[in-house]
Subunit: 235 residues, 2 copies
């Protein structure tokens, strides 16, 4: 936790917060913070700053906070991910949030197991928690917007094309030979398939609407590894 | 599992293997393979090829295998990692192996919790299993060599310098301003600190022996995210 992310509901006065639960446990056990210590803090979707601990015990922590810095600039990247298996989903959302990605579309694909769509990890609450864990890691405050699309074609064929204007649209594809570009200057929309890849018909749909297939090399990477690899490569 | 990694002990004849346990379960539940199916296989530290399932049930699987392709070329990168917390260690070793990294040194640092060194996840057996999971993901066979260094100074000051010749030595450092280089042509030694970073004295030691500090951007990334980000950036 490189930044303690605060919610509006944590405020007990205009400049004072009270924390219990997960964040308190982390601050006690990992930071080993004591009264008088200063922590880096930020308000969800708001500014960052400092908090000085005025009181801390096993029940609660109170800090006086000052929030005076703007949040970090977003990474100009939007992710279109075939819904990963639930465990991988959590790590991928957190990793994406930690790198400053603010737009994530989780889509269906032929090789996405139907049962993944029933996972409780797709709840708003869990997706928000994973995003917060990523922001706390990265030191950031702006929550990604995460959208679910249970039908591939209506989203990819009908909605996505009009959202691609001015963007570089790349599809990570194990079959591709082209290297992903380096140091891009335009915002990127990045599509990554399920384990086993998008099927040919899905790849063709992406191609039809303007995506370029790029290779991540001869190895097949897990989705959260692929996202970080591509962020390192592209920006 | 994009490749079923075989051990010498799996062979019951010169071209026939029998699998039980983890791999069988995965092949049944995820691949949903049946008799006659062909799977991509590889021998640990050896060649890759195909296996044709001759018999499969809930107890065991038998395949006739032919191994005729050389393994993928290693990534010319060696990792020097401050020992991460055990859960993160597993994911980092698997991610590194999946990307073709063959040399990993796990080192102590001031901000590495002493208890991490007592983790059962540091056993040869677990490090080998995590490496295998990464190779099965990446479709590769060459196990990384993973070394433990419980003392920072003797390793970094005395052993490491003579191993840096001909290498680009980079230290990922939250304080740095320099961008990591792109598309490098020499092999790289990449040092990544613990949560909270290397302390100043440790950073100076790396600098003294020839490491250049590079920034991963304004955000602080988890070690497994940082490794993938840097691999994408450098190669």
């Amino acid at each position: 936790m490189n930044l303690v992310l605060l919610e509006h509901s944590d405020f007990i006065d205009s400049d004072r917060v009270r924390l219990e639960g997960r964040r308190l446990t982390h601050i006690l056990q990992v930071h080993r913070a004591v009264k008088g210590d200063t922590l880096r803090v930020g308000l969800v979707d708001g500014k960052t700053g400092k908090g000085i601990i005025e009181q801390i015990d096993s029940v609660a922590l109170e800090m006086v906070v000052s929030l005076d810095s703007d949040p970090l600039a977003s990474l100009p990247a939007r992710l279109i991910l075939a819904l990963p298996r639930p465990k991988v989903l959590n790590r991928t959302v957190a990793a994406a949030a930690s790198m400053g990605i603010r737009e994530i579309d989780l889509i269906n694909a032929w090789r996405v197991e139907k049962s993944y769509w029933e996972s409780p990890r797709l709840s708003d609450g869990n997706l928000r928690l994973q995003s917060i864990l990523g922001l706390e890691q990265g030191g950031d405050t702006l929550l990604p917007s995460i959208r679910l699309h249970r039908l591939f074609t209506p989203f990819v064929r009908e909605q996505l094309p009009q959202q691609l204007k001015g963007h570089l649209a790349l599809l990570a594809s194990p079959g591709a030979h082209a290297d992903p570009p380096r140091k891009v200057t335009e915002p990127v929309v990045l599509a990554i398939g399920p384990e086993g890849g998008f099927i040919d018909r899905e790849v063709e749909t992406f191609r039809d609407i303007g995506f370029t297939e790029v290779s991540l090399g001869p190895r097949i990477l897990r989705v959260e590894t692929a996202v970080a690899f591509l962020v390192g490569r592209l920006f």
